[in-house]
């Protein structure tokens, strides 16, 4: 007897030691496997080539544009006309001489641009000169149409000289001279013309001045109050298009709302058909379940493509695409929730002589409402994000504005603006759905 009791001890110890050794091996093997996979991925994604191809100058332009704007001072070398335009857009062109910024002076064919800290650019009949402190004067004259550079030797690498173009990049601003035109860019912090465009009577006024005008000041337009004039000027701003952006945000939320709710309404009756305790007919149940799997598996992307062929671009197409994709997911979760209900309540209702519809209404729905609501609200929030992406494909909402702004590759301040708005929108929907969830489910 004693021998049989004693023998398992070393075996047990042995087994546990072996298990420990295996665990220790795993503790090294798993990170090693992950590392090996990441190395494989890095090679297959060509990280080395990517580092070379990365355009850090683009990153600098992008980050600069996020918080600053540039003003172009351009002279057409053929006609000699000088224009000052914010972001180089015709909508931002300053009408001279009334609204010229104080760092540009024009007198008798000579334009002087003071970029600050001693950097001065001059355009005149002979060509253009750029005075850079601690370096000297960069002088460019057209000879036979081509710009010819005279500057202190050796030419530093921030001056780039090509056959038909000379460009200079300094901290104070950029300068470029080509056959057709000479341009100077000055960077200043802030998003210019965000509230009022140049043609607005409120442009260039300080906050105090605007407050006075809005409250006690004399009417700029005798027909209406200043405050309503201001609001309409901001709303119809042609540079930033606030009205369009607000509409796009609304459209995105609308797509998410309609899509989620329609999906829930479609999935609820189908969920009953897919639940074991409500649908005794096996083949039909199987068919409904595979139908859910199918629409979930086909994926939102493919539904979006198919639907935009039928319904054309727009928010309704996006809403239907969201509805179809989510109907599959909702159907699955709803039928699972239905299978997990407590049968006692249903029995109680049955004992009063209620028919199937009444049993479902009073015995089943109250039990699954919390699961249902929390699912729907969670998807409402996550669909706001999806609606941004789907909007980019179907052509509706803020997603479209954003992708357009990114693809033109110049209005990065608008990209930053839209990004901020999207993040705020998603966070707002997140807290709204959280609030509703607490209100409706926990009854707080």
């Amino acid at each position: 007897m004693t021998a049989t009791f004693a023998t398992p001890q070393p075996a047990l110890a042995d087994r546990i030691t072996r298990r420990f050794a295996a665990k220790r091996r795993m503790a090294f093997a798993i990170p090693a496997a992950i590392l090996a996979y990441l190395i494989y991925a890095a090679i297959s994604f060509d990280i080395a080539g990517l580092v070379q191809r990365a355009r850090m100058d683009n990153a600098a332009i992008l980050l600069g544009d996020f918080w600053s704007h540039k003003t172009h001072v351009t002279r057409d070398n053929r006609s000699g006309d000088v224009t000052v335009a914010i972001e180089g857009e015709s909508k931002g062109t300053v009408p001279p001489p009334a609204m010229l910024p104080d760092w540009v002076t024009m007198a008798g064919g000579v334009t002087t641009i003071d970029l600050g800290t001693g950097h001065v650019v001059t355009y005149d009949d002979a060509g253009a000169r750029f005075v850079v402190p601690d370096y000297g004067t960069i002088d460019i004259r057209p000879v036979g149409g081509k710009p010819v550079l005279t500057a202190p030797e050796p030419i530093p690498d921030w001056i780039s000289v090509a056959e038909n173009k000379v460009s200079v990049t300094t901290d104070a601003g950029r300068f470029s001279y080509s056959r057709s035109k000479v341009e100077t860019f000055k960077y200043e912090p802030g998003w210019e013309l965000f509230f009022f465009t140049l043609e607005s009577p409120f442009y260039g006024k300080g906050l105090g001045e605007l407050l006075t005008l809005a409250t006690v000041g004399e009417r700029v337009d005798p027909d209406r109050m200043n405050i309503s004039y201001m609001v309409s000027e901001v709303w119809t701003n042609r540079m930033w298009r606030h009205a369009d952006v607000a509409w796009a945000i609304f459209e995105t939320i609308l797509m998410a709302f309609l899509g989620t709710m329609a999906a829930a309404l479609m999935a609820l009756p189908l969920g009953f058909l897919a639940a074991r305790n409500f649908m005794p007919l096996g083949p039909l149940r199987f068919a409904v379940r595979r139908f859910f799997d199918f629409i979930r598996g086909v994926d939102g992307l493919i539904w979006t493509i198919i639907l935009s062929r039928a319904f054309g671009p727009g928010p309704m197409t996006g809403a239907i695409a969201i509805a179809i994709t989510d109907a599959g997911t909702f159907g699955k979760t709803f039928s699972e929730a239905l299978e997990n209900i407590d049968e006692k309540q249903v029995e109680g209702i049955r004992s009063t002589g209620a028919n199937a519809a009444l049993r479902a209404r009073f015995g089943v729905i109250p039990q699954i409402t919390p699961v249902l609501l929390s699912q729907v609200l969670y998807y409402l929030e996550s669909n706001t994000r999806s609606a941004t992406v789907i909007g980019a494909i179907v052509g509706g909402g803020i997603g479209l504005l954003l992708t357009q702004a990114i693809l033109t590759q110049k209005d990065w301040e608008e990209v930053a603006y839209y990004m901020v708005l999207i993040v705020l929108m998603v966070m707002l929907m997140d807290s709204l759905s959280g609030w509703l969830r607490r209100k409706l489910i926990k009854g707080e």
Binding site: I34, Y37, L38, A41, S44, F45, I47, L50, R53, A54, R55, M56, N58, A59, L62, E251, L254, M255, F257, L258, M261, A262, D293, G297, V298, D299, G300, L301, I302, I306, L307, R309, A310, F311, G312, P313, G314, P315, M316, T317, A319, R385, T388, V389, A392, I393, G396, G399, L402, T403, I406, L407, Q409, V415, M419, I422, V423, V426, M427, D430
Partner: protein
């Protein structure tokens, strides 16, 4: 009991108990009225919303509805005529599919690694610096809020095309989304092992690695697998909008239009099969991880 539910536990404002039947009916009537009002508001919102959306749409709902199957039918009939070519086309697009899956897998891995540290730093009772919990929580909120497409398109401008922008974009979003779920799991972890480790002088990382991670690993893995499923879809969509993977192939084939519909069908089927297989496998393992069998 019923009165407590309807009026709350405060004494004073509850109705006369001698007439409980009347009070009960009153409550039922009020509940019905609230329910009715909510229903009317909901129906009004849905109806006006759909009408507005339809008005802004290029095509209308009723004229589009019969055409829903026109495009799939056109595509399928062309593909059926060229069905002999399909196996070859599958083969052609397998590398793109692998790229899409790799994007999703790498992004899920990197995102999950970020989520582990973020979530532990943002969980009450476990955090290394309890005062910084709000900071880490808001970081996760912000990461979750930025749609992948925004980061991907901006990064394409800087890094050029290829899969890396998509990986970074999905990984950032995954970090935020998983971080929140991970931290909810970690909040329910038993603190006794952590205290035991602390009593023998373990550092914070040792306490987390030996005391918390073993407890939460099954749930965390299950969430990470679910996220991988979601990320496969996201990576296909990003390919369609941006660059890289099978989504990009699909876009090119779609832009070509008629004459390449066999290719479209091949890509559809490949993507569909991949998504279904991955869903199945991850479903199976998640079941195993959470239920333990």
């Amino acid at each position: 009991m019923m009165v407590d539910i309807a009026y709350g536990p405060n004494e004073g404002k509850r109705p006369d108990l001698s007439d409980s039947r009347e009070a009960y009916l009153d409550m039922v009537r009020r509940k019905r009225m609230y329910g009715g009002i909510l229903l009317v508001i909901f129906i009004a919102l849905m109806a006006s919303g759909w009408m507005l959306a339809e008005e802004r749409n290029a095509g209308s709902f009723w004229s589009g509805l019969p055409q829903v199957f026109d495009f799939p039918a056109e595509v399928l009939s062309e593909a059926w005529e060229k069905r002999a070519l399909l196996p070859g086309l599958f083969w052609d697009h397998v590398p793109a599919l692998i790229e899409t899956l790799n994007i999703a897998a790498v992004a899920t891995l990197l995102g999950a690694i970020a989520a582990v540290s973020l979530s532990l730093l943002a969980t009450r009772g476990l955090a290394r610096w309890p005062r910084l919990i709000p900071l880490f929580r808001r970081t996760m909120d912000a990461l979750r809020a930025i749609p992948e497409i925004v980061i991907a398109l901006v990064l394409i401008y800087i890094l050029g095309g290829g899969p890396v922008p998509a990986v970074i974009a999905i990984a950032l979003h995954t970090g935020g989304a998983l971080g929140k779920l991970f931290s909810e799991v970690a909040e329910n972890a038993d603190l006794k092992p952590v205290e035991g480790l602390a009593s023998v002088g373990a550092t914070w990382s040792q306490r987390m690695w030996l005391g918390v991670i073993p407890q939460v690993a099954p749930n965390w893995l299950s969430y990470a697998l679910l996220r991988f499923e979601i990320n496969v879809r996201a990576s296909a969509i990003l390919g369609f909008v941006g660059e890289g993977g099978i989504g990009h192939d699909l876009k090119l084939a779609m832009q070509w239009g008629q004459g390449r519909y066999d290719e479209v069908v091949a890509i559809f089927l490949l993507l569909f099969a991949a998504i279904v297989v991955i869903d199945r496998i991850s479903d199976h393992y998640r079941h195993k991880l959470v239920k333990g069998h």
